[in-house]
Every structure is written in C-alpha cells, then in structure tokens.
C-alpha cells in the first residue's frame, strides 16, 4: 500500500504541475456555459423551455468525458513512451498499479470537474445532497471512459498516431450521437437508434435524473444506472485483461 501511495503522490505532482491545463478546463467550461449555452438556449426558445439547464448538465458530461479520456490517453502515452516500463520495474503489484491509475484518474477528475459541477448546482438552486449523487454518476462514467481508452491501448502499441486518430474520431461520434446536447425525441430516427446504444446517453440522462432536471424526455433511471455501472465494470475488466498482456515488453518510441 505504501508503494501505491508513493507512486500516486509522484504522479499527482506530475499531473498538477501542468496547472494551465486545469485552468483551461475551467475556462472551456465558462465559455461553453455562459456564452454558447446561453445563446443557443435563446435560439431554442420555447421548443425546449429549460434547455439551458439541460445543456449545462450535458456540458458536465462532456467535461467528464474529456478529462477521463485525457487520463486514459495519458496512461497509454506513458506506456508508449517507455515511462510505464520504468514503473513496471518498481516493486509494485500489477493490481496495485491499476488501482493507483484509477485513483489518479478519480482525483484528476474531481479537481477539474468539481468546481464547474458546484457552480451549475449553485446557479440552479439545487440542494447540496445532489452534489454527492452527481459526483457519483460522473465518476462512474469517467471509469467507463478511462476503461475504453485503456482498452484501446493495444492499437497504440502498433501506432500511437492511429490510436489518437481513432480515439479522436470515436470521441466526436460518441459525444454527438448521444443525449448530451439534445433529447432523443428531437433526433431523427436513424440518429436516436444509434444514440440508444451509446453509454453516454444513459450517463447523461442518469445525471439529469439525479439532478431532477424536468424535461420529461429522460430514459428510465434504473436502466441508465445499470448500463453506466455495467460499462464501467466491463471496460475496467477488459482493461485489466488487456493491459498486462500488452504492456509487458512494449517497445518505446
């Protein structure tokens, strides 16, 4: 356990050495929420009366996705560039290493998403208890996203460039074909059918459920919670199965 905490402390220091990125995440949120969100919700108008709140919650999901995919990519990048080989040579069990990476991702997510989440809750007059439930949903989602990014690591060891291209294209598709920015009822049938297979759709609707955003267009919270948890567990399991096989003996750039 001591080794895990030592490594975690070292990696946290390295992560937050890059303060401008954390500030950028908040800057991005501020502009998207107070400029883009305000103006687009004025355009939407009465077609979806509380679209601004709907958009704000969607933006939190986008932030979670971005931060989690950043954490997942950082892990893969570290492996590709040889940093992980050094860490693997340390006297730490693989299970502990995986747990340490997960904790690192959690902490990075909380620091970057926490302030925007508190702001949204405060501006919309939501009770403090919602902070805990919302955070639980966002962190569960971030586990799933990190798991997806790490599971794709086998591509990165063939070509990091192709890995990045796949992740970037997949991210754009996952974010757009979901209920992050618009409810299912406004999507053409072809799009809504795809969105129903997207775990982000369930994560976004679950977050709106726990925040009690009344848009009467949300998916069942029970099935949403089940899917978010299932994606998190399955991608983590997949990651745990794939990563040890691909990491050992991986070539550096």
């Amino acid at each position: 356990m001591r080794e895990l905490l030592t490594l975690l402390g070292y990696e946290l220091k390295e992560t937050f050495d890059s303060i401008p990125w954390t500030v950028y995440f908040w800057f991005f949120f501020g502009f998207q929420y107070f400029v883009y969100g305000q103006l687009v919700s004025r355009l939407v108008g009465s077609n979806l009366p509380n679209y601004y709140v709907y958009y704000g919650t969607g933006l939190l999901i986008i932030m979670t996705f971005n931060v989690a995919s950043w954490s997942g990519r950082r892990f893969v990048e570290g492996a590709h560039e040889g940093r992980l080989r050094y860490i693997l040579s340390l006297p730490i069990r693989r299970g502990e290493l995986f747990l340490e990476q997960l904790m690192l991702g959690f902490i990075a997510n909380i620091v970057r998403i926490g302030p925007p989440l508190i702001l949204v809750l405060w501006l919309n007059g939501m009770p403090p208890i919602v902070l805990l439930t919302s955070l639980a949903v966002l962190l569960s989602m971030s586990v799933g996203v990190m798991g997806i990014m790490i599971s794709l690591s086998f591509v990165a060891f063939k070509s990091f460039d192709i890995y990045s291209a796949i992740v970037a294209s997949m991210s754009a598709i996952l974010l757009r074909f979901s209920t992050i920015l618009y409810p299912l009822s406004f999507m053409p049938n072809a799009y809504s059918s795809v969105a129903r297979f997207n775990p982000l759709t369930y994560g976004a609707d679950l977050l709106r459920n726990v925040m009690n955003v009344d848009v009467s267009q949300l998916l069942n919270p029970g099935s949403s919670a089940f899917i978010v948890a299932a994606v998190g567990v399955s991608t983590l399991t997949l990651g745990m199965a794939i990563v040890p096989r691909t990491l050992e003996g991986v070539k550096s750039t």
Partner: protein
C-alpha cells in the same frame, strides 16, 4: 534553385506534414463532419424555422462549421512550428540558403493553403445538403478564404512568440480557439448575440474574422447579404492585419532562434 523555389519547398513539406498527421486529420474530420451532419441536423429540428433569411438552422450552421474547420486547419501551423522549434526542425531550416522572411512566409503560406484546402473539402461535403454552395460564387470566395486562412494563422504565430516550452502553447492555442469560436456568429445569429451582450462586445464579435467568413458563405447560400455582419472589405482588412502580426511574430521567433539558439 531560386530562393522562391526553396521557400515553396518548405511550404510543401510543412503542408504535407499537416495532411499526413493522422490523429489531427482524424480529429478535425470527426469534429467537423459530426458537427455538421449530426449537431446541425438535430438542432435544425429544435431551432426556429428561418434564421437571417436562410431556410433553416442547418443552412445557417454549415457555413459556420466550414469556417471553424478552416480556422483549426490554418491554426495548426502554430503546433508545427512549436514542434519544429523544440525538435530542431526550425534550426535546420535556418541553415538552408533562405532568408528569415522566406521561412516565415513559407509557414504562413502553408497555413493558408492548409486552411483553404480543408475548407474546400468541407464545402464539397456540405454542398450535398446545401446545393447553393456548389456555385461560382463559392469559387469566387476561395481567394478570400485563403487570405482569411493566412490571417488566422497570424494568431498562431503570435502564440508561438509567447509560449516557449512545454505544454503552454497547446493550452493557449485551445484557449484562443474556444474564445474565437464562442465569440463569433459561427453558431448563432447576430440578433441573438445582440440580445445578450452589450454593444461593444457585439461589435467585436462582428469584427471577428470567423464571423466575417461564416457570413460570406451564408451570403452565397442566401444569394444576398442576409446579415449586417457581412462585409468583404472588412474580412480582407482584418485578415491582412492578422497576417502582418504573423509575419512580424515569425520574423522575431526565427531571428531570436538564429541569434540566441532558442526562443
């Protein structure tokens, strides 16, 4: 080989590096195509039926996506120069028999071409759903888009001047991109912007080259200027001012690199 030829060789290498960077092209295409074909189409059903004389929100938004693509593609020159400075490619260019001005112009030219070519590809895709874009007016607009693209790269050059090492360039670049796209008429009409921001901010948004470019393409779709923002001379003037900033910035960067060995 003449100096001009050598400058064009650098331009060609820089431009081909942009199109060969798979993750970048993947990111840009993924972002722009899904923005246009998914966000644009879904928002069309959520927005009012007519915006600034255009039939629907998709017709309004598609030009915005094209200009955003042009911006991101031309802005990538800053990333290439940043990597060139840290990996020694720029130092190599300075050993070639070309002047500092030519190295600076080569990068700005490749940025202009990259943005214009990428915007051309997006326009062809958009023309499938917005047939008005497949017109002579669009062709006539290409030189202006090229100038706009070169001008926008001037902002990236200025960032190269201020962000010397590490991740700082990428943070600044993402910040500027977020700021410029949000504070433009790419995604929302000026009438809505006017109802939210005070008039000095609205004026700045009107002068934003992204607003100017998007409105120029919307004018092509509409057949006539549909918004007070459209102003071709202003587009050219703003772009030339930014281009001058780019030339001065890159001249300074490469002069310092030559004299001191680093920036």
């Amino acid at each position: 080989m003449s100096q001009l030829n050598r400058m064009l060789q650098i331009t060609r290498v820089d431009l081909s590096y942009f199109f060969r960077t798979k993750w970048l092209v993947g990111t840009l295409l993924g972002l722009n195509i899904t923005d246009m074909l998914v966000v644009g189409i879904v928002y069309k059903g959520m927005m009012p039926p007519a915006i600034e004389g255009l039939l629907n929100y998709f017709q309004f938004y598609a030009p915005g996506v094209i200009i955003t693509g042009l911006f991101f593609a031309s802005f990538d020159v800053g990333r290439r120069v940043h990597l060139g400075l840290t990996e020694g490619v720029s130092q190599y260019y300075l050993t070639l028999p070309v002047s500092l001005d030519e190295v600076a112009w080569a990068h700005l030219l490749s940025a202009g071409l990259g943005g214009a070519i990428y915007a051309g590809l997006l326009t062809m895709m958009a023309a499938v759903l917005v047939p008005q874009l497949a017109s002579l007016s669009t062709l006539a607009l290409i030189p202006f888009l090229f100038v706009l693209s070169m001008g926008l790269s001037g902002i990236a050059a200025a960032l190269n001047l201020f962000s010397r090492t590490g991740d700082r360039y990428f943070v600044f670049a993402d910040g500027v991109q977020t700021l410029m796209v949000s504070m433009s008429t790419v995604a929302y009409p000026i009438s809505v912007i006017g109802s939210y921001f005070p008039s000095p901010v609205v004026t700045m948004i009107q002068l934003n080259p992204l607003s100017q470019g998007a409105e120029a393409l919307r004018t092509v779709i509409n057949g006539a200027p549909s918004s007070p923002v459209f102003n071709l001379p202003s587009l050219v003037l703003t772009s030339l001012v930014l281009l001058a900033v780019g030339v001065v910035s890159y001249r300074h960067v490469f002069t310092k690199l030559r004299d001191v060995g680093k920036i």
